[in-house]
């Protein structure tokens, strides 16, 4: 191997290298946290969506998000079932109820989901194992990941206590637990049968549903069935694919809150800080070695070779900074996930994106720093 000049130069000054790696690592961590939180918040908003067992979703056209749905007639579900390729269409009822904290007697808004236990709509094994429980009148499943303001329901239930409280001033029993998690507007959740739901929400009628879950027959083409459903159903329902249904929810929160923007800005700050740090390091490094670079030119090295050295240094720095930054971000994700129940995970695509950004960051700094190379004049070294 030829002499790895960039590597030798970088590693000769350990302290400077350490500062550079720490700076780049910091920028990497900043980008990981900002983009991670952003994804987690948006993923959190569609956790319920993702746990529905359905290929196509029907919603009222004026619905804007899970917490603001426009009901539509249950007849649309019967019509949907007549479309070829549709195996089933199940109604889901959604709404906010007032949950009384059994310890403090204060009430808090809680998100409630009702469905027919005869047609399970969830991918959650835990829920599907407790269908018998919600068939009992006035019995609900409680989200153990709900916030503490509802009281220590999960802990007391697990401890064997029977918990009776009120939802919308009606007595209910907690018949089991499941795990969902909080998101932008939902601090806690209940799952129950459609009949129980309608008892709790007395003003709602069985004929008006909030969400229709369409399951396809084996081998049916989802695109095709979606198009057929759109053709078959009147304009008072929207037909969405699974992805479209989740995007619909994420779009709402992206539009109605500055969260997406704030985190993107945070990540951009990380990028800029990183660029400035790498630039400073490279610029100082080139300046300190101008006489040596001029000597290399004098003994016959081309300007292109020296450009290559600076860019290799930039690339090495991005690697050396990314690796610890990645490892620490990984640990911070774990830590945060434990502390907040935010679904913060190391997405390979995001890691690849941030690695690309780190390389770009170093390349940009390198491109600015090499302008300093022009000052390396081989004619000056005899002076």
């Amino acid at each position: 191997m030829k002499m790895p000049l960039a590597w030798l130069q970088l590693t000769r000054e350990r302290v400077r290298l350490l500062v550079a790696v720490a700076g780049i690592g910091f920028a990497v961590i900043l980008m990981f946290l900002q983009l991670g939180f952003r994804a987690a918040l948006f993923d959190g908003a569609v956790r319920l969506h993702a746990s529905f067992e359905a290929d196509i979703f029907l919603i009222g056209p004026k619905s804007s998000a899970l917490v603001s749905m426009q009901s539509f007639s249950q007849r649309r579900l019967y019509q949907a079932m007549a479309v070829p390729g549709v195996a089933g269409a199940s109604p889901v009822y959604l709404g906010f109820g007032r949950f009384r904290n059994p310890e403090t007697n204060e009430t808090r808004g809680i998100f409630a989901v009702g469905f027919n236990p005869g047609e399970p709509v969830f991918r959650l094994g835990e829920v599907n194992r407790q269908l018998a429980s919600i068939r009992k009148p006035d019995t609900v499943l409680f989200d153990r990941a709900s916030r503490s303001e509802y009281g220590p329901i999960a802990a007391r239930y697990t401890g064997g206590e029977s918990i009776v409280t009120e939802v919308n001033d009606r007595r209910v029993r907690v018949g089991g637990l499941f795990q969902m998690g909080t998101s932008f507007a939902i601090n806690g959740a209940l799952i129950t049968s459609d009949l129980n739901f309608l008892r709790l929400f007395g003003e709602r009628s069985k004929g008006l549903v909030d969400l229709g879950l369409v399951r396809l027959a084996p081998g049916a083409d989802p695109q095709r069935v979606k198009a057929d459903l759109r053709a078959a159903l009147p304009a008072d329902v929207r037909v969405l694919s699974r992805q479209e249904y989740m995007d619909f929810e994420k779009d709402y929160w992206n539009r109605s809150t500055p969260i997406g923007y704030i985190f993107a800005l945070g990540a951009a700050m990380g990028f800029i800080v990183g660029t400035i740090i790498v630039y400073q390091i490279l610029y100082t490094d080139v300046s300190d070695h101008l006489a040596e670079y001029a000597t290399l030119k004098a003994i016959g090295y081309t300007n292109g070779y020296l450009l290559g050295v600076v860019f290799q240094e930039a690339f090495l720095l991005s690697l050396l900074g990314f690796v610890p930054g990645f490892a620490i971000s990984f640990a911070l994700y774990d830590l945060t996930r434990g502390a907040t129940l935010l679904p913060l995970t190391m997405d390979p695509l995001r890691a690849a994106l941030i690695f690309a950004l780190t390389v770009l960051m170093c390349a940009v700094s390198g491109a600015i720093a090499v302008r300093r190379l022009r000052a390396a004049d081989p004619a000056e070294i005899f002076a």
Binding site: M1, K2, M3, L5, L8, Q9, R12, E13, H289, A291, E292, T295, L296, K297, A298, I299, G300, Y301, T302, P378, A379, I381, F382, A383
Partner: protein, 232 residues
């Protein structure tokens, strides 16, 4: 030994600056140096010796006249031609100009890699020449841990490792005490004789003039040819 002179200079002028700041530092230089010669260039400070060396060394572009080095005309040559000619010249500077982040061997190896067939060969050549300059015990020392004389030996090894046809040295002993200065120059003389290359050396050091085959003197940008055949 080839008949073609290593250096052939005819009517070379050089000016620094433009317009009102224009200053002529070299006028009407004529100089021919053949292979195997060790020519010492003397002259007062500011007379233009370094300027002449940088021109011959292809480190600066000549403006008017003719300057042929190793058969290549440097007047009007492209940057790529200049870089190519530099690879056939060994340079020894007043301050050793070693790369501080490389060891003695790595410094020499940087030069060797320019012409060696493989990195392994470059390494072997570098170690051999460092042994030849008496630094077999110091191969992996960084310049900061070497004495002035040792650093200049590394610089000589770097200049000679590619067996250049021409060595240019600008006051190579200026930073050394007289004993190590003498040693360094004798080393250059011996290696150059072994390799059959020409040496052009600028020096003020009157104690070493005797190693030259010929001395040329510069006054105010003009050569005063006072040929002394000390070694003849």
């Amino acid at each position: 030994m080839s008949l073609m002179p290593v250096i052939a200079i005819r009517r070379l002028d050089h000016t620094y600056g433009h317009g009102a700041l224009e200053r002529r530092v070299l006028s009407d230089i004529d100089l021919t140096i053949a292979a195997g010669e060790l020519v010492i260039l003397t002259g007062p400070s500011g007379s233009g010796k370094t300027t002449l060396l940088t021109l011959i060394g292809a480190l600066r572009s000549p403006q008017t006249g003719s300057l042929r080095v190793l058969g290549q005309e440097l007047c009007g040559a492209s940057e790529a031609d200049l870089v190519a000619i530099r690879r056939n010249i060994g340079y020894i500077f007043q301050s050793h100009n070693l790369l501080g982040f490389l060891t003695a061997r790595q410094n020499v190896q940087m030069a060797a890699e320019l012409s060696a067939g493989s990195p392994t060969e470059a390494r072997a050549l570098s170690e051999a020449i460092l042994v030849a300059v008496g630094l077999s015990e110091r191969l992996d020392y960084y310049p900061e841990n070497l004495s002035g004389g040792q650093k200049q030996r590394v610089a000589i090894a770097r200049a000679l490792v590619n067996r250049p046809s021409l060595v240019l040295a600008d006051e190579p002993t200026a930073a050394l005490d007289s004993k190590s200065g003498r040693e360094v120059v004798e080393l250059m003389q011996q290696l150059a004789a072994d390799q059959g290359c020409a040496i052009l050396m600028v020096t003020h050091d009157s104690r070493i003039l005797d190693v030259a085959t010929r001395t040329v003197h510069m006054e105010d940008g003009r050569l005063v040819q006072s040929e002394t055949a000390v070694r003849a």
